[in-house]
């Protein structure tokens, strides 16, 4: 039986490059967020510098979104399906639980204020669970 010839795909290399780029953009976003958050408290007291730091963080965030888009496009179709399913699950859980949490807060059922960081944590955990379940499903 004839063995097919290699098509010399650079798929893995391209995927690894985009993964590295995404990691760098994510790290940069976290660092600029930390600077924008803690800078006004510990380093400077001028509002102009604070606004500049927030704008830089926002722009780096756009770069991170684009890097994530490129990373998603570099995945193969099954990996994209797993990622998109996990993202959809995360969005749904985040929206529903976020609204319920906010309503509990605004109606005074719970005393604490609804914090956006709690929503981020819920969405991140849901996303990770979605990835794990997706990978297990297609093993």
């Amino acid at each position: 039986m004839k063995t097919p010839q290699s098509t010399t795909t650079d798929w893995k290399e391209r995927n690894a490059n985009y993964t590295k780029k995404l990691a760098k953009w994510t790290a940069a976003w976290v660092v600029t967020l930390a600077i924008a958050t803690f800078g006004p408290v510990f380093i400077w007291q001028q509002e102009a510098i604070t606004i500049t730091a927030i704008v830089i963080n926002f722009l780096v965030g756009i770069g991170m979104i684009l890097a994530n888009k490129h990373h998603l496009l570099s995945l193969d179709e099954l990996q994209q399906k797993i990622q998109l399913n996990a993202m959809g699950l995360s969005l749904g859980v985040g929206l529903i639980s976020g609204i319920s949490y906010s309503t509990l807060s605004t109606t005074g059922v719970i005393n604490s204020h609804a914090e956006i960081s709690h929503l981020v944590i819920v969405m991140s955990l849901t996303y990770m669970v979605g990835i794990i379940l997706g990978n297990r499903k297609y093993q």
């Binding site: 795909t9 193969d76 099954l78 990996q79 297609y138």
Partner: protein, 64 residues
């Protein structure tokens, strides 16, 4: 969707990883297709069929 990917791969002494490289996908994807857990897109199905020198109907079969 049923497929003969595993048989065709075995006939050519290819591992899942080697076939994955030839198709430009991950080994996980090849494994999932072989097990019938994941149906490939039309372009990937055509690529697989072309790789084995067969028509798409020779590799994939609709279960319906």
């Amino acid at each position: 969707m049923k497929n003969r990917l595993k048989v065709l791969r075995a006939e050519r002494d290819l591992t899942q990883a080697q076939l994955a490289d030839l198709l430009g996908v991950s080994r996980q994807t090849v494994n999932a297709i072989e097990k019938g857990k994941f149906d490939p897109s039309l372009p990937l199905a055509f690529k697989a069929a072309k790789l084995f020198g067969l028509t798409i109907e020779d590799v994939f079969e609709d279960e319906a």
